[in-house]
Symmetry: C2
DNA sequence: TCCTGCTCATAAGCTCAGCTTATGCAACGC
DNA sequence: GCGTTGCATAAGCTGAGCTTATGAGCAGGA
């Protein structure tokens, strides 16, 4: 059977899952190449495929999207208006894929690489891939390895000489490490748009937050520590989940209010899948810091990466 | 220019193009589903495929990335630490793909759909897809059609009754239309990091900008109009290009300083592919406005979309 | 204790997307 | 005219990813 979508229920007009409606990465890269060089054949050569392959791929992408993307002529190909739009949207996907790739590459090279980075989860998830892409642009030959864990684990690695540079998000700097603040983060309270809090007019008071069962990361996570400290006591968990993604998913699904890093919910807020609830007089800000063993100032690639993280 | 700079030959350890190193969308969606439901089989059912297909696909993704992503047990599957990171990075790609899909869907439904939107290029490229994703979350059954063009074209469509809601970025509101400011944008001067201006310590003066040949959008574009008005004369073009992407690519490639919307260069600045050059005493800010025919206040889906664009 | 139900893994076979090579046609410059 | 550049089409191959069928590990209830 060729069609897998007609045995689950599908909304008419939108066939199958995302993967069936969005061209694959190869096709998007090809489209970007065509936009850049102005010819199917040259774009094909650039990607190491043949001209007929490129021609057919672009054509099938146009069929999939139902829109003409390039104007072919015997003198080259230019994007149509719709093509220019699609190309820009495609660029966003490709950029996300580049960040993914940079992160995955770092994750793969666990050992024996030149720059070894240890980072806390939130930073590794939301900031590091972008930095790695930038670093690769500056120094294409530097292999980076990444180890993700909590603050304690990061400190251990650095002190054991198993990492060159660390990133942590706690309230305090682990002993034996020097640090530099590289960014600021803030915890935010979010709910699904359907939650009663989303229609509040007054900001939430700290006491209300403290007595309301919340969707939270597990105890011991940096987020949880900051929240407990800010509330001057213990937050009350409704559900405890072990990843930021799971917490977001639960909140979007309407499980209840969640507390998360601002970094983690940017997209959801923008798309109105989550709503930010203002909170009064609760210190939810925290510093994000680069750390290294006292005395060992970062040098070489570590210094480059560090300087990329500022500004 | 993307990551194809060593056109043809590949760096060892990084096989092939991006598409060969990054799993395809279907695999990423599957991974997200596994993370959400905690079992390969259930994730498979959710996506309408069989359990062995899911098993094999996750396995081949792990082989591709060289990292174990899920811990299988007879009681279900959980993400490994690396898996949690990868999942979050994957989410970014999937979100970009959702925006792409929302935009493409709107582009496809050119006619006879319920909500017809006309938007200027910059807005259509950088803001609209996110709004459409949000709108679809709120009203899944509203079909949206999109027409992209310059301010004049947007006004024409609205006045001809061929569009229900418009978005423009000019300095003035076309006659016959009411408007509401929905966001603010600003033109910025950017160069490649290697450009001498990137090492300036003093902000750029307006006169310097006016006499320097710049990489620009073509005459008649909104960006160009705002720039000319701000300089109190005509900007001097080094190259004129017909799309924002092309201008960015030229600037990144070191062709010269470019002037672009802040919206368009966020990623490039973050990744340090471009550097923002401060400018003194030049009014480069502009309002982004929603517009509609005077008297015809947006109603129904148009009103929903409008309210999504604020805040 | 054994059965039932959940999990995941493996095997064999099919289909289709996407690649290749080989060719043809159109437009431009010399 | 002829060579170059650009796109389209045709025929054939390969592999990724899907299916169905089956087996094996672990838990909980009768």
């Amino acid at each position: 059977m060729s069609r897998t979508e007609d045995h689950g229920d599908e909304r008419p007009g939108s066939g199958g899952s995302l993967a069936h409606r969005v061209p694959d990465l190869g096709a998007l890269e090809l489209l970007l190449a065509v936009a850049r060089v102005g010819s199917l054949g040259r774009a094909a050569r650039e990607l190491g495929i043949t001209q007929p392959a490129a021609s057919s791929r672009i054509r099938s992408m146009e069929r999939q999207l139902g829109v003409a993307l390039v104007d072919r002529s015997p003198r080259g190909s230019r994007l149509t208006d719709a093509g220019a739009l699609v190309t820009d949207w495609a660029l966003r996907i490709v950029e996300a894929a580049e960040a993914f790739d940079a992160g995955a590459q770092a994750l793969r090279d666990r050992r024996d690489s030149r720059l070894r980075v240890a980072a806390s989860m939130t930073i590794a998830e939301y900031l590091l891939p972008g930095w790695l892409v930038a670093l690769r642009a500056q120094r294409p030959d530097t292999a980076v390895s990444l180890l993700a864990g909590n603050s304690t684990a990061v400190a251990e690695r650095l002190l054991a000489g198993e990492a060159d540079l660390g990133f942590v998000e706690g309230l305090t700097v682990p002993a034996g490490l020097d640090s530099a603040v590289i960014a600021h983060d803030r915890l935010v309270v979010v709910t699904a748009p359907s939650h009663p809090w989303a229609r509040r007019r007054r900001p939430l008071a700290a006491e209300e937050l403290a007595v309301t069962p919340l969707v939270l990361r597990e105890e011991g996570s940096g987020t949880r520590q900051v929240l407990d400290a800010a509330l001057g006591g213990l937050a009350r968990p409704l559900i405890e989940l072990s990843s930021t993604t799971a917490v977001k998913a639960a909140a979007v699904g309407g499980a209840g209010p969640a507390v998360l890093s601002e970094l983690a919910v940017g997209e959801e807020l923008g798309m109105r899948r989550l709503v930010r609830i203002p909170v009064q007089a609760v210190a939810l800000a925290r510093d994000l810091r680069a750390v290294w063993p006292t005395g060992h100032r970062p040098t070489g690639p570590a210094r480059d990466l560090l300087s990329l993280t500022r500004g």
